[in-house]
Symmetry: C2
Subunit: 114 residues, 2 copies
């Protein structure tokens, strides 16, 4: 992530959610997608991403598939069955955390507003 050390632990959720929407992605693609979606505001570093991918794979959330594209190796990741389950768990965990944050930081806040 670029210059913010905020909400550590959301990287896993980001990876899982993107893979749920895209079925199959490789590491570099994930960094670019996040950069796109946030207009360059969040940059996932490779030093954070690859270990996270390896960890999720070791935990049985992801499977990999190597592809050769233009003399370059790509490692595609996709969700396992457990991975699919994990997405919703992580998502509701994160959404509930963000909701609680809003309750603390913005006393005016009610669900339905940013």
């Amino acid at each position: 992530m670029s210059n913010n050390n905020l909400i550590k632990g959301s990287l896993q959720t980001i990876i899982l959610k993107l893979l749920e929407e895209n079925d199959k992605m490789y590491g570099y693609e994930i960094t670019q997608r996040v950069k796109e979606l946030t207009e360059g505001e969040i940059k996932i570093t490779e030093g954070a991403l690859y270990p996270a991918l390896h960890k999720l794979e070791a935990e049985g959330m992801l499977t990999t598939e190597i592809q050769q594209v233009d003399n370059r190796v790509r490692k595609y990741y996709s969700l396992t069955k457990n991975g699919h389950k994990e997405v919703s768990a992580k998502m509701s965990e994160l959404q509930s955390f963000v909701g609680n944050l809003q309750r603390i930081l913005d006393p005016e806040w009610k669900p339905g507003l940013v």
Copy 2:
């Protein structure tokens, strides 16, 4: 903190914001306020809180004032001038990060919705 490792990095912001709203708070009071506001979902541990308070004080964001209440010592914290500045900085940093998170995790999301 209860079961979420998501809070890392946002604890400082929470402390600063609560102090902006309440002018003067002591450590234990902060833990209770957060518990209240989140209906017990977020519990700030003392092992996290006190070092964070000491660090913010060392950085010149907070000043302290000891009070004796019912034979018990309370250490009240309040924002310094720099502390007041820091609140808005941290707040907009966090809000922008949360916005970016939504953009990544919920492609349907537009500012104005949760």
